[in-house]
């Protein structure tokens, strides 16, 4: 075989390999996304009450369905009479009942071998108490017995999930998966982080690209790039040891683990990316355009403002997207410094919990396949859509900027 033929064969093989690796990468991405959404979608088909359990009431109780929040209110003792829920319901006291309450009436031996008599005894309790609502394992359920009504199980509703203001995934009988505090926590931390990082990063980029001498740039640029490579847990450690006490003292707060602390550490982490990408974009402005501007009598600053920054705008917006992406998706450092209270945030100086931190902190404890587990996958989807939305809109703005005639 001639060398030419051999080379062609080699090129053919390489071409195919490249195609295959492209296809594999694409498929992997697709699989991950599909998996994420498939697992998450299961949440809205699981019952709002803990799996394997059900709620039972007295047969004459007209109650038909209860929302997650009503169930929680009842078992937390916040709702104490039935007609507080609806005027159609009796004016009777609500008696929340859990399986362990049975031991107040019967000893273990009275319940028989393997609790065989338990369903009968439970039914008895329900028949006797008109205002009862019992949260019981279906295994011992007094189903089908006279005087007992099973409340129909309801699926978790997307409205409760996306509109809910409490995230209590381990609450019984009905866990609350209200994702708003987490979304707000994420947005609080990320937006403030970007508001800090962006002006700072762009100033440094302008300084490095336009004002700094060759020597300054020569050591500063690699130093900044090095910062981008520090593992986030190290940043988190720094945040915990340095920033948390600093914030606590500076703002005279009871605790230093706040949304603002998270924003600070995220801003520090996003800076290297923003600086590097924006500086590259500005330095890529063709020399011809700079010279054209200067030759018309424009000053250095006018040239930066009117020629270089507009020219670099698409690169600058790429820097912004990368920065925001880093801020929204960052897990470890934020987990370490924000205090992780999953409550609706009211100010920057409160403890918050972000979506990635929630997933990282809770996935280990959530039983696989359960509602909590699935809820964490939905959080993953929310995060995915959030970053997607941001990159698409930034892309769109950059496109508009470059097609717009300045």
């Amino acid at each position: 075989m001639s060398t030419k033929k051999l080379r062609r064969a080699g090129e053919y093989v390489i071409e195919k390999l490249l195609t295959v690796s492209g296809a594999v990468t694409g498929l992997t991405m697709l699989t991950i996304t599909v998996f994420l959404f498939k697992e998450g979608a299961g949440l809205f088909r699981s019952p709002s009450v803990e799996k394997g359990y059900a709620l039972y009431v007295h047969a004459e109780n007209p109650v038909e369905r209860l929302s997650v929040n009503e169930i929680k209110g009842i078992f937390d003792g916040e709702i104490t009479v039935w007609n507080a829920l609806s005027s159609d319901y009796p004016h009777a006291e609500i008696v929340p009942y859990r399986i362990e309450d049975i031991f107040q009436r019967y000893s273990e031996s009275e319940l028989g071998e393997d609790y065989a008599l338990l369903p009968d005894k439970l039914a008895e309790v329900i028949r006797e108490t008109s205002g009862i609502i019992a949260f019981l394992p279906q295994q011992y359920a007094p189903t089908g017995m006279t005087g007992v009504k099973t409340l129909p199980s309801q699926d978790i509703r997307p409205a409760d999930f996306f509109g809910g203001t409490s995230w209590m995934p381990t609450a019984t009988p009905a866990p609350l998966f209200g994702v708003l505090p987490l979304i707000l926590g994420t947005l609080f931390v990320s937006i403030v982080a970007i508001l800090i990082a962006l002006p700072l990063g762009l100033s440094v980029a302008i300084f490095l690209s336009e004002l700094a001498g060759t020597r300054t740039r020569k050591w500063m640029k690699p130093a900044i790039e090095l910062l981008a490579g520090i593992p986030s847990v190290v940043y988190g450690f720094f945040g915990l040891v340095v920033l948390v006490p600093l914030v606590q003292r500076a703002f005279a707060l009871p605790v230093g683990e706040t949304a603002f602390t998270g924003s600070l550490i995220l801003a520090i982490m996003a800076l290297p990316t923003i600086i590097t990408v924006a500086e590259d974009a500005m330095r890529n402005t063709p020399r011809e355009l700079r010279e054209a501007s200067l030759a018309l009598g424009a000053g250095h600053w006018q040239t930066i403002r009117k020629v270089i920054i507009p020219y670099a705008s698409s690169g600058i917006s790429a820097a912004v997207v990368l920065g925001i992406g880093r801020a929204i998706g960052e897990t470890m450092a934020v987990l370490m410094v924000t205090g992780n209270a999953a409550v609706m945030p009211h100010s920057l100086f409160e403890s918050v919990r972000t979506i990635p931190a929630t997933i990282a902190a809770e996935l280990g404890e959530a039983p696989a396949g359960g509602a909590h587990y699935q809820a964490l996958f939905v959080l993953g989807c929310v995060l995915f859509l959030l970053t997607l939305l941001i990159s698409v809109s930034a892309e769109w703005m950059a496109g508009k900027q470059s097609s717009k005639i300045l």
């Binding site: 063709p286 054209a292 200067l294 018309l296 424009a298 020219y311 005639i405 300045l406």
Partner: protein, 248 residues
């Protein structure tokens, strides 16, 4: 009008211009010719201090424009560059609209209100023989124009700030013959108003458009005389060899 006195110029240790003395007459066209790397562009860029941007460049000697030492301590470089316009080798319009390209120099120099700017833009585009072609699409991107139109736009942009001198660095070398012809026509029309110095590789172009020609070689000004004389009866044999195409 323009005068170079004992100019020596260095890029680091490279001696790019060697002891150049030259007087350039006002309201005329002076062509600078010579082989690549002979220093003619470097020389041209001395007069709007474009070489200031190059680190490790060093200049000795005096550059006078209208009697003023343009490297003097009191000189405002921005103001100098407004008075001495430049057209570059490759058309380099800003990625802005046609209108904004021409208005740019006025805006950065803080000249005039909207009405004034609009008038001046039209005037400049007319002077650059581009008005008829672009008057209906002033808001369109300048990058959509052809190469020749872009170069005339760059000339209009330079004219808008009313310079007295126009430095042209091979303004037609990136253009097709018809566009080149239009640029040459334009230079011919502008000569009565401006002092034009043009660097060119094209000897025919130099002979067509210029009143005086300077021939540079290896950083030296070999010969400088009236264009007609230079191209018919050059004094030096190097000049003779170059313009007859024996090298370069």
């Amino acid at each position: 009008m323009i005068e170079a006195k004992d100019i020596d110029f260095y890029y680091g240790s490279f001696h790019a211009l060697k002891h150049i003395n030259m007087r350039i007459a006002a309201q005329s066209v002076t062509a600078l010719i010579g082989p690549s790397g002979c220093g003619k562009s470097t020389f041209l860029r001395l007069f709007n201090r474009m070489n200031d941007l190059i680190p490790e460049a060093r200049l000795t000697g005096k550059c006078l424009v209208g009697g003023e030492d343009i490297y003097g301590a009191h000189v405002q470089v921005d103001d100098l560059r407004r008075r001495i316009g430049m057209v570059f080798q490759r058309p380099n319009p800003f990625p802005k609209s046609i209108f904004e390209n021409v208005a740019y120099g006025l805006r950065v120099n803080g000249m005039g209100d909207r009405r004034f700017i609009a008038d001046r833009v039209e005037e400049s585009l007319r002077a650059a023989a581009l008005w008829e072609e672009v008057k209906d699409k002033l808001k369109k991107s300048a990058l959509a124009l052809s190469g020749g139109q872009q170069q005339r736009l760059c000339i209009a942009r330079a004219l808008a700030v009313q310079p007295t001198v126009l430095l042209m660095d091979e303004p037609a070398s990136a253009l097709d013959p018809i566009s080149t012809m239009k640029i040459e026509d334009l230079i011919f029309h502008l000569r009565s108003t401006y002092t034009i110095v043009i660097v060119t590789h094209n000897m025919q172009q130099a002979s067509r458009v210029s009143d005086h020609t300077g021939f540079f070689m290896l950083g030296e000004l070999v010969e400088y005389s009236e264009t007609r004389k230079m191209f018919t009866n050059p004094e030096k044999t190097e000049t003779q060899n170059y313009i007859t195409g024996r090298f370069g």
